[in-house]
């Protein structure tokens, strides 16, 4: 009998990079930046996952997908841990991930525009002056926000004034 060999951590990362986000299937879990670490502790594989939004309903599906995929690859002892610190930020979405989002019709986050809750400049933000979001279809920056939320907690709704298409914006957090 061939001795069971432990897959390397690189191999595990490669497998995880094949898993799509359940709500935005063009982007993988690793491109989304929610897999924080992969580590063998003795004979147990420990995967640390951070939630995007604390109430994101995809979280449990993501955990199930990770477990299913790794068990199918032969990982027997597996532990998934929730890691809250540091909290997830859209800065962790990879460059490839951002390009895939755009090609899929979702404008990627504009870095450095996360809400800070500071009251100053509220009027400027209200008119959308603070964030320029380019239309993922025609590239125009003449766009307007329709709503601060969209089809999932991580998105806002926008409309392009040039091509007139509505689109989702992956908001910065």
């Amino acid at each position: 009998m061939v001795a069971a060999t432990r897959p390397s951590e690189e191999q595990i990362w490669a497998w995880l990079s094949e898993l799509p986000d359940p709500e935005i299937p063009v982007i993988s879990l690793t491109e989304l930046g929610i897999i924080r670490s992969v580590e063998w502790q003795d004979d147990t594989l420990v995967v640390k996952v951070t939630p995007t939004y604390s109430g994101c309903p995809a979280t449990s599906v993501i955990n199930l997908d990770i477990e299913t995929a790794l068990r199918r690859r032969g990982v027997r002892k597996l532990r998934l841990e929730r890691q809250l610190t540091p909290p997830w930020t859209t800065d962790w979405i990879s460059a490839e991930g951002r390009e895939k989002l755009r090609a899929y019709g979702i404008a990627p986050p504009v870095d450095g525009t996360a809400a800070d809750g500071v009251a100053a400049g509220r009027i400027a933000r209200m008119t959308g002056a603070r964030v320029t979001v380019a239309c993922p279809r025609c590239g125009s920056t003449d766009t307007e926000r329709i709503s601060q939320f969209g089809s999932t907690p991580c998105k806002a709704s926008y409309r392009c004034q040039d091509c007139l298409e509505p689109f989702d914006y992956f908001k910065c957090i």
């Binding site: 604390s54 994101c56 309903p57 841990e81 610190t85 800070d116 209200m126 907690p153 957090i173």
Partner: protein, 266 residues
Amino acid sequence: MSSLPEMTHAAATDRVSREALFEGLLRIGDSALILGHRVSEWCGHAPALEEDIALANVALDLIGQTQLWLELAGTVEGKGRSADDLAYLRDAWDFRNLLICERPNGDFGHTLMRQFLFDAYHHELLKGLSASSDPRVAEIAAKAGKEVAYHLERSSDLVVRLGDGTEESHRRMQEALEALWPYTGEMFLRDDKDAELADAGIAPDPASLRPAWERTVREVMTDATLQVPDSTFAHKGGKQGIHSEYLGYILAEMQFLQRAYPGASW
């Protein structure tokens, strides 16, 4: 879970009584839960599709945060109660939410005004909690704080739009502000348990949050052309488990399934 939470758990309960920490966590988690449930009542009823989606997402954030707070509360209590047990199997007198969170939704403007007054407080509270001497509290607060900063931007934008909008929207927002104002004072009252948590550096003294809250509220109300009431009268009791009749109706709906079919899951 790793061994770290166990160690910090011991450290945190050295500094404060288990009871004070449990109560403090219920106060934060229950306010998020009850307001989250209230806001979720708008699902399918908001004046526009975008607002319907937005309200549902705010509710989802609050209920997600509740899960984290009540899970930690259950751990601290040490009686094996899960977040779901605490949410679905306690009766009204065991809830510790602020009274403002159980106020009826009223019209859309009233809901937004309640949201803004709470968001401005919640934002300051979470900022204070993210510097907690208990790392388990600090990490939940840091996570939730990012979501709440966004809630605050949204609710303040809408309060300004509606306050400084039409004659009718202005009138409704002014009425909402006056009706809800007496429920804001409770946010900043402190009792022995608050004092114990503040002394241990686990949570900010509620009174210390008031100046920043007032600054935000007054700035937004000025932009919204609304008059902040002069009254300092405050309804209180929610934090100690003394609630208005509304909480019972909320729980009747929220807890029905677990009460009728104990242990049901899907």
